[in-house]
Symmetry: C2
Subunit: 465 residues, 2 copies
């Protein structure tokens, strides 16, 4: 620890855990993207809000850039530290601080994994309903930084809807208590909402008060096989009108092939181009009959070719694995990812345009897509061929992303539905946000962080100095 700035940090905060080993720098310097070579200055692992404040005062004093760090499961490079930044990891701040049964709120430290938050809620017979496959590794702080959505948005909305209060440390090291668990509070700008999805560029989220809800009624899980994309929207409309949906997720035959090769269990005998995993309320016989009737109506129309309904929790988990295992199953193929959204009503036309675009632009690549169709959110994973090196592969994909971004612009969609902008989507921000909006965003950032030390380069390029 020969760096004078780090020596000063150690002097100011003698109790602060600091890591500078090469292995630690690499581990904490990157997220699930693999495009950047980690090169942080050091890793700080504060154990309290006061230590975070001390770190930020030190960083402001020295002009050191700080990268806030949660589970680093991000897919947009939002937690990458490749330019001598201090990584501020919240992983030691992972405890429940308070629970109130009347408020039905849980206050937790930002480094708590999503699954631990869910379990803490469950211990009180309540539910924190935001959920997705990375639940075991991602943290609630990271979820807030990107306004994470996931597989239950159709029922419960995004992370934003569940945050009743945030404790934030500013660039200058001040502690903010934003909204403090109030249900009604019209006292000026809602900085809590502004902080959500700001990707660590406006402040460090150190604690969160999350709303909880009653457990949903008993549910059932169904796997459906469909002939084409047109049928997908028809089945969605059919099921939405007749059932109380908790989730409605689709994926393709290519995705299924990968997840089966990765150890998941086949649930249907035949091979079909498209699949849906759906979960819906099924308390009582009437609800179960309604589900079967909806299924049969879909079969009669030719929109559903085959299907299976889970008969046990184990089978439900196995069906869910077909969808949730996709990301992990394709990870070894270093997929190039797009995570896009349009209005729900625009999904059919957009899927059509996408299918044409991908078929035309990626004839040589294997493309795995899946999505949360009820939210207008589509995930596209382009798999890297063995005979192409990283740089050439990414360069080719970026060319297609330019066209995709233009298509999204025409549809009024978003280049990032739930992954955030980070480094990866930064070149395409203009497809989703106008120049006037970006100028205002930059102005907001200057108001919060005039030195530009909070996660610089993420979301937008650093200010010209």
């Amino acid at each position: 620890m020969t760096d004078a700035r780090l020596a000063d940090l150690a002097t100011r905060l003698p109790g602060l855990r600091l890591l500078t080993d090469a292995a630690d720098l690499e581990h904490y310097g990157r997220d699930w993207t693999r495009r950047w070579t980690p090169a942080p200055l050091a890793i700080a692992l504060p154990a309290s809000v006061e230590e975070v404040q001390g770190v930020m005062r030190w960083a402001s004093g020295h002009g050191v850039a700080v990268v806030p760090s949660g589970g680093r499961t991000g897919l947009s490079g939002g937690a990458v530290a490749a330019n001598g930044e201090l990584v501020l990891s919240l992983e030691r701040m992972n405890r429940v601080l308070a629970f109130d049964p009347v408020d039905r709120m849980l206050t937790v430290q930002a480094g708590m994994p999503l699954q631990a938050v869910q379990e803490a809620a469950k211990a009180h017979d309540l539910v924190y309903p935001v959920d997705f496959a990375a639940r075991g590794s991602c943290t609630i702080g990271g979820n807030i930084a990107t306004n994470a959505g996931g597989i239950r948005v159709i029922r419960y909305g995004n992370t934003r809807e569940w945050i009743a209060g945030l404790t934030v440390v500013t660039a200058a090291g001040e502690r903010l208590e934003l909204n403090r668990g109030l249900i009604k509070n019209s006292s000026g700008y809602d900085l809590r909402q502004l902080m959500i999805a700001s990707e660590g560029t406006l402040g460090i989220v150190v604690e969160a008060t999350v709303r909880l809800t009653s457990p949903p009624p008993p549910s059932q899980v169904m796997l459906l096989a469909l002939p084409d994309l047109g049928a997908l929207m028809q089945v969605f409309a059919l099921f939405q009108s007749r059932l109380s949906l908790q989730a409605f997720e689709f994926f393709t035959d290519v995705a299924l092939r990968h997840v089966l090769a990765h150890g998941a269990q086949r649930a249907l005998e035949g091979d079909y181009p498209y699949y849906v995993v759906t979960e819906f309320d099924a308390a009582g016989e009437a609800a179960q009959e309604a589900a079967l009737a909806a299924f049969e109506a879909g079969v009669e129309q030719g929109w559903i070719l085959d299907g299976v309904i889970a008969q046990s929790e184990a089978q439900a988990a196995a069906l869910w694995r077909l969808r949730e295992g996709i990301t992990e199953s394709v990870a070894p193929r270093k997929p190039y990812k797009n995570d896009v959204s349009v209005r729900i009503s625009a999904v059919p036309a957009f899927l059509q345009a996408m299918q044409e675009l991908l078929g035309r632009e990626y004839p040589q690549f294997e493309v795995v897509w899946f999505g949360h169709i009820g939210d207008g959110n589509l995930h596209i994973n382009v798999l890297q061929p063995d005979d192409l090196d990283d740089a050439a592969f990414i360069a080719q994909c970026e060319q297609v992303t330019k066209r995709l971004a233009a298509t999204l612009h025409d549809f009024g969609g978003s280049i990032s539905a739930e992954h955030g902008i980070g480094l990866v989507k930064r070149p395409y921000l203009e497809s989703t946000r106008s120049a006037a909006e970006i100028a205002l965003m930059r102005g907001v950032r200057r108001a919060f962080d005039p030195q530009g030390i909070l996660n610089p380069g993420k979301l937008f390029a650093p200010e010209p100095t």
Copy 2:
């Protein structure tokens, strides 16, 4: 129209409707507060977004302050124009622009009254569920400006939850399309959320895309009479645990006296200190039996002294009038209003503290209080005695509000639950927001409106120049 600036405006926008008659200046220059003498420069009534843009370009050029104006039902002076401002009334922009049944969204102009939005939703068998007594006069734009809450927050949340997109004209006259109806969009700061509750200080909301939902199940309305404030929270907990509540509103004997004197119909024979109007799902016999059982359990515990359940829609409306008629019934007494909130769990202790404070500080005044107890929101109306002039009355009330604000600060509450800060609550903003937060809010405002021409003086004092 001898003012050179107005002559220039008329030249730039020949089609723009401009009013300068004294009666119009008075009518459009104030809201439901009566503390300020209206003195606007003129009233502009644009008919299109382009005209609003033209007005803002003109205002920027001349440095003229602009007060955006909806139904002017505000209770915090947010729409008051008392300093030569141009009032920009959205009242001619009151049409439905689009409806999409798949998105279940309605796009409307900002000047549309809330009730018209509700009726437009109903025409499609859907519901815009934010609701309160001023529905016929207030506009959706004003609802957005204060993040209006109302009587169904316990079930549906505040306005914020229902806004999927906003069209905003900036101080410089630029048009922003914020979020565009997307369900999932993690592409940088959510300026839509920032705009909500900004009271016209960051931009002019000209159009909104609101989410709609399915109609709630059939409901029943009950009036309850309670002995004391302790019983109030007990009955709320009891009813919340057994019924699916849509609303749970309380008021006092003093409030009832006023509303009865104002023409409402008595529903219970006896006189009691506290009353509750509650509405809950009651589809089918089981739900109705559950309601009766909850009522009887409350009676057995001594928490409920009497009650009545509406047997018809007309009777339900009559019971609701007992609660919703309060504001109108006390209006002639020029009430001094507080609209405060705390966390739900803090309500009992806060009510206790409030009761002591009001009894001690206002022994000579009649105080009418009521509130949305399930949201932690309490409305306090101090009625002006006949023998006290306006200035003396307000001065005395302001002294008490200082103490109330200090109590709220101790409870972590808010000085404005749903009315906004405007001019009325500006002196007390510091009780709810820290100095660091207010500094950041001012910074955000400068980013959006460097000249400070958007509703200056509302929310915080104008910047020192």
